[in-house]
Amino acid sequence: MQTSTMIDAMRPPSPAEPGAGVYSNKLGMWVFLASDVMFFTALIGSYIILRFGMTDAWAAPGAVLNVPLTGINTFLLICSSVSMVKAYAAIADGKKYFLRPVLGKTLRDGGLKFWLLVTILCGAAFVGVQVYEYIKLVEHGFTPAGYREGSQLAEHALADPIKYGAQTGAMFGSTFFTMTGFHGFHVTCGVIAMSYLYVTKVLPEKYSPQDYRGIETIGLYWHFVDLVWIILFTIVYLI
């Protein structure tokens, strides 16, 4: 593959018109994120139309979902966004670690290797908790098709149809699993991409303060996925 690598190196950047003022990877990621916004808009828009076009009561989220657990999961994902920023700042400054005085002591603050690893682990933990949540929900009787016949949840719904949204369980299940599932899929893709960068670029120290485009580009994606989750958590789990 030597030929193609050499060709790649010869491709633009070459003299060019002023473009967007940012390098192509970043611009491409922005365009892709615009496209991803439309994808989630289709899913979230459908959810809003289905839920608020419904004449029957929608289940109180807390009655069906484990909101505290997912609250912790949300916190985990927000933390991963913070660690992503730290990873980015570390490589932009070109430091392996920072030294900072805290309460009379000097603490070592990690560099790119440390903070990107934290991000990957937080992301992976988020997916893990989500899988656990799905398993528990299905056991409890909450499926994409609605409340499973004869399950604990179906019995609750019979007893209190308003609180559990007995008539709208099918739509709750459909929208819940589709939206959160595709968000989880995005997180998984991000974790895989970051792990790949970690092994091929970060560990061999290929990034430098002169070129850390991969980190910035994947960072954009990661913050976007985080942002989508904050919206999803609000509209699915809280209201």
Binding site: T3, I7, M10, S24, S46, S174, Y212
Partner: protein
Amino acid sequence: MTSVAPAKPDAHGGGAHHAPMSFWQKYIFSTDHKIIGIQFLFVSLFFLLLGGLLAMQIRWQVGFPGKPMPGGGILPESMVVNGVILPEYYIQLVTMHGTFMVFFAIMPLLVGVYANFLIPLKLGAHDMAFPRINMWSFWLALLAGLIMLAGFFVPEGTSRAGWTMYAPLSARPDLSGATVGQMLWCVSIVVLGLSSVMGSVNYITTIINHRAPGMTWFRMPLSVWALFVTAILAVLALPVLQGAAIMLLFDQTIGTHFFDPVAGGQALLWQHLFWFFGHPEVYILILPAMGMVSDIIANGSRKPIFGYHSMVFAIIGIAFLGWLVWGHHMFMSGMNPTLGSTFMVSTLLIAVPSAIKVFNWMGTMWRGNLRFHVPMLNAVAFVSMFTIGGLSGIFMAATPVDIPIHDTYFIVAHLHYVLFGGSLFALFAAIPFWYPKMFGRMMDERLGKIHFWLTFVTYNLVFFPMHMIGMGGQMRRLYDPTIYDFLKPQQPLNEFITISAFALFAVQLIFAFNFLWSLKKGKKAPQNPWDDNGLEWSLPNPAPHGNWAPQTPNVYRGPYEFSSPEAGDADFLPQTKKLPTDRDPVPAPLPTGGH
């Protein structure tokens, strides 16, 4: 993989693009935008042929219902019994003709082929911004096409809900009678959407960031402008279809109920999602054609394009309005009538930028020194046929008129006037025009002219009478018109259309022959066979791998300087030609690092 490049570690060393590459690297898993464009060309021409074959079967059934179809014996019993097409197979034909033509023939022909091939060549870039993603975009498109094709080979046959996949028919196998075929449709569309988004991200990034020095926004050819706006439409519209297709797939597989009213879902939601994608899609299918036709008409008229800026803003205006009109597909769906009036007004507004374009094309040709080469003939046909299609569109945009003609052959006539008369004529113009750039040879001019005139005549014989049949009340997708007494008097017209359609199909074989024959036997192309100004003609035919690498050309003017007094004896002035009065453009510093 087996070939070894001459060792030259210097990243900016010239000449490395002449290094030998294995066949696989060069033609199959190629990252060269030109090869990818050509790959798209062959694959989508195959699907165009397939879509045409499906159309012929539809026409046989409508023209001669209940009569054994010639050659029908080779199809299995599940499709054709005693040579007669079964209703179950007929609806599959209708569905797949639409699906293949829209998603796997016209869209990749316009965008896959010409966005890939033209954008770097016309902008002076060495390749796309992301060549490997570009390669993936092609292979995913091919995969999607094969998945769609696989539907014909599963026991219940392929999808049966029409290319628009209206729910709940598409969502419920007990209604449509097809299980796997319906799922394959959804999977294929999701994969195709991915391919399309990958391609479009590439086109947008390349156009913004990879223009040669001097290629300012308003020196870009209109074809590139149109492809740029199309890519923006695709990037924002395809994900919506993907989301909808995923919901539909979940309805069919894991038991969700998005589109099933019985369990609280909304069938109308599918229509909204589909047409929210579907109407921008209409402009994805016509804008690149308009762009390429603009280039070709200016070339054939030997005049600058009339109203360049108004052309650009008309493209942008059409694309913007395209987002606000999806409801005009749904006037009869039970949607709120007040909403219908809103959609009617926004739809009629699109006539304004469209008319600007048509008048600009006519203004370009007016008193031009016309050269009626094959691309020009087809481009002129595009303008006239698109105008007819646009005018019949106004009929249906008006709600009171739409009520009686909705879902009749009138709409079939309309959409074929814009898709065949529009997009396909533009492609018959574009293919011979850029053929020498692709293959280094010319397509035969005489065969091209014969093909053009026969196509033009038979095409009108096929589709114009459909307006009348539609006014007469014949429903689209109708299996057998003769079962209705009120449609019986129209049957001779149906037979006439069918015979014309067979003639139209036969005429396309001339094109296929010309295309394939010229690959090996065509006349060797001179470097600039059409005396055009575009950057691509400053390269040899076919263009080498890497285009201008390691240099980039300087651009001194717009692409439409035909018959300019500054050009001296020639009647064209290439964009790269430096006149004594021209100053070299100053390249911008490149963004570096992480900023």
